[in-house]
Every structure is written in C-alpha cells, then in structure tokens.
C-alpha cells in the first residue's frame, strides 16, 4: 500500500548509530560537528540515535581494539535490516598507525561488509556528510531489493 513511500523515506530519514572501537575521538567530534549549524546534517534527516535498534547507518570509528571487537560484532548484529556500515577515518579500514599492534584487530572488513568508507585522519565534516549521503542512497537500494 505504501511501498513506494516507505522506499523513498528510507533514503530521507537515516538515523546514525556511532560505535567508537578505540578511536582517538578525532573522528567522533567531527561526526558530531556534522550536526552543528554550519553543516546541519539534520536537513537530510540524519539524526544520532542512542541505540543500535534505532539505527539505519552504523558509523564505526577507531582501529577495533581487542577489547572492543566482541562488543562491536555484537552491536552490529543488533541493528535491524536494512542497514549500512560506514567506516569513518583510516583506522577501521586498516588500523592506521596502530596496524600490527597485538591489541588491534582491524580491518573492519573481516567482520562485516563495509558499504562506504570515508578516508581522512580525520575526515572533514563535508567528507563525512558526503559519505553518509552515499550510505543513505545505498539504504534505499537495499530496501528496494528487500521488498520488490
């Protein structure tokens, strides 16, 4: 009955859940900076959600330390479909400067499919917005694929 409306809405109201898997907090504050009046991600419907159950887009930052890996995997599993995973900054994709440390378990690709990766250390808010926007469009595609 409302299939088209729901599909369209999927791209227009993506809610973010942010997982910090040992990040230095640089990417985290830049992500929050996206919500400031200058960048105002809310005009595209982005909103920071407090729990993975509400999320459409999971933003992962940090090099996935051994301590956080289990928690990361568990939290990613708790996000309802359709969902998108965005890696923020260099750390989750490769481990960045912590690569090869005994306590770092990057890359993220080993644990889930990363839909969009935003590079930069840290990325500018503009770049993050661009990445999130791409993720929102992917969300819509996934939703359409789920319910033809």
């Amino acid at each position: 009955m409302f299939n088209k409306l729901i599909n369209d809405s999927a791209a227009k109201s993506p809610w973010l859940y942010h997982i910090n898997s040992g990040s230095c907090n640089g990417c985290d504050i830049e992500l929050v900076a996206c919500l400031t009046p200058r960048y105002d991600a809310e005009r595209f419907g982005f909103k920071l959600a407090g729990t993975p159950r509400h999320a459409d887009i999971v933003v992962v930052s940090g090099p996935i330390t051994s301590q956080s890996r289990e928690r990361l995997i568990r939290t990613l599993a708790q996000v309802p479909e359709p969902k998108c995973v965005v890696s923020l900054g260099s750390c989750p994709k490769s481990g960045n400067v912590f690569k090869g440390s005994y306590s770092v378990e990057a890359p993220l690709d080993n644990y889930c499919h990363v839909d969009v990766s935003v590079a930069g250390c840290t990325p500018k808010p503009e770049a993050i917005m661009e990445g999130l926007y791409k993720a929102a469009l992917i969300l819509k595609e996934k939703r359409e694929a789920m319910h033809k």
């Binding site: 409306l5 729901i6 809405s9 109201s13 009046p37 809310e42 005009r43 920071l48 407090g50 159950r53």
Partner: protein, 316 residues
Amino acid sequence: MIIIRSLFYILIFPGVLFTAAFGLFLAGVDRKVVARMQHRIGPPLRQPMYDFFKLLGKETIIPHAANKIAFLAAPVIGFVSLALIMLFIPIFNFTAFSGSADLIVILYLITIPGVALIVGGSSSGSPYAGIGISREMVTMMAYELPFVLILLAVARKAGGDTLAFSMETISKWQAANGSMIAQWSMIPAAIAMLLVIPAEVGTQPFDVAEAETEICEGPLIEYSGAPLGLFKLNTAMKMLVMSGLFTSLFFGGIRTGFYILDVIVFMLICVAVTIVCMSTIHAVTARLKIEHLFKFFWTFVSGLALVSLILVWCGL
C-alpha cells in the same frame, strides 16, 4: 447514518487520521523551528512523516528477554488511546463524543500513553529501560500536580456546580464570557500549562526519560521498526492533544461561525502553542536532571498554578 458519521469522526476527523497527520505536521514544525532558532536550515516539515514510514519498513526485532505480547501491544494501545482523546476534546464548540468524558477523564486518558510507554519499555528487559521508565514516571508525578491545579482552577472559573469538570461547561462558559486567557487571574495557570505541555510530551529540557546520550533512549531502547514508529507517532500525537487541550481550555471563546474556519483557527493556535512552549524552550535550554525537573514542577510551576487557583477561589 449515525454509524457512518461516527466512523467519520473516529477515523478521519478529529480521530485517527487528523490526529496522526496533524500531529506529525506539528512535530515537523517543531523540528523546523528549533533548527531555525539554532541558526540551521533544519529538516523539511515532512521529516517526521519520513521517519515514521521509514520505521514501518524496518525489521522488527523482538529481544529474547522481552515479553512479546506486552512489547508489541504497548505502542498500539498508546496510539489508540491518543487518537481517542482527540474525540473528547472540544474544538471550540464541537466535540465528537462530548458525553463520554470530562476533564478528569481526559487527565487520566492522557496518562495511558505514558503508561503504555513505561510498560513497553519495562517489558523489554533492559536495565537502561529500567532507568528510563523510572525517569518517565518521576516526570509524570512532577507534572501531575501543576496539571491538576490548572484543571481545578479552570473548572472553578467555569463554575459548574454539579458537573464540576465538564468540558462542555467550560467551552460554553468561554463562548459566553470570552476566552479563559482574557481573565487575568488565569494567566499564571496558562503559563504553568505551557510548561506542563513540554513535560507531558517529553521534549527538551524535560526529555530526561528518553535521554539518548545518557541512557540510550530509555524505554525505547529495544524497540525497532514499526513499534518504534508507532511510539514516535505517539509523541507527535501527544503534541497535538496537549496543545489542543490548551487551546480548548484557554482559547475556547474564539468563534467565527463557520465550522471550517473554526478548525483552521484551532489548528493555527495549536501551531502557535507548539512553537511557543515546545520549540522555543527546546531551543534555549539544555536537559535537566531528574531531581531538578521534579523540584521545578513542584515549586515554580505548581506555585503559578496555585496562585491562579487561589485567585479564582477568591472570586477574581
């Protein structure tokens, strides 16, 4: 014929459809105005609608620890009772089912969505939800006292003897004597009511229960998909119900004579109330602590309402 008309009242106006659609619109207005006050562009007015429909399309996860029936029934019950309240609130001199509820009944009916939220959150079995419902309940206790005082003041002013709390008496009194807000003894009560509304709806700074940054959305923590969408819709509808109640309690006397115009005026006042008491306060304040919230309502707001009640009692 009566059945068709009743169905129209229930399902279209002022029942389900109107309440949901206009509630979502009010929520959109709220978000837009807050954004503009924070010097942002803000989401489009239809954003709450997008949120709602998106959530309908999401997967619904019922956690292992949750009680399935309570978990799924809570949002629906909240939704239904909110849609119902609108049938009992007069839109100036029109009420869909006037003979079925008075002020006290409305006061209690308004608590049902809150209780539904609490029961739903509680049934999810999450400790965060436990803290959330505790805060929701304390908020409820906090605003109940001033709310009661306001209602008593209004009822006393309208002066029904035997049917003290009748909504009909209040709208008739206002039709005869002008709006309640024009009585200067009622102004403190109106201000108190404007502070009660955001607490009832749960917008900042009174959103301690759903503090997403501290306790992961509190009672809503385990909700996803369509039930969450219903809860979001409930919040939007609560905005309409509360601002509608304010309008009919304090702006009741305005009447143009044309029914359509009446409704439009009613809607405009609702929008204005939303902007004044929800958006503006949201934009300029930060979230309170729960004990501060309680103290604020039981001292300042209740004080205002009590002043009104005493003035009214003295015949002013």
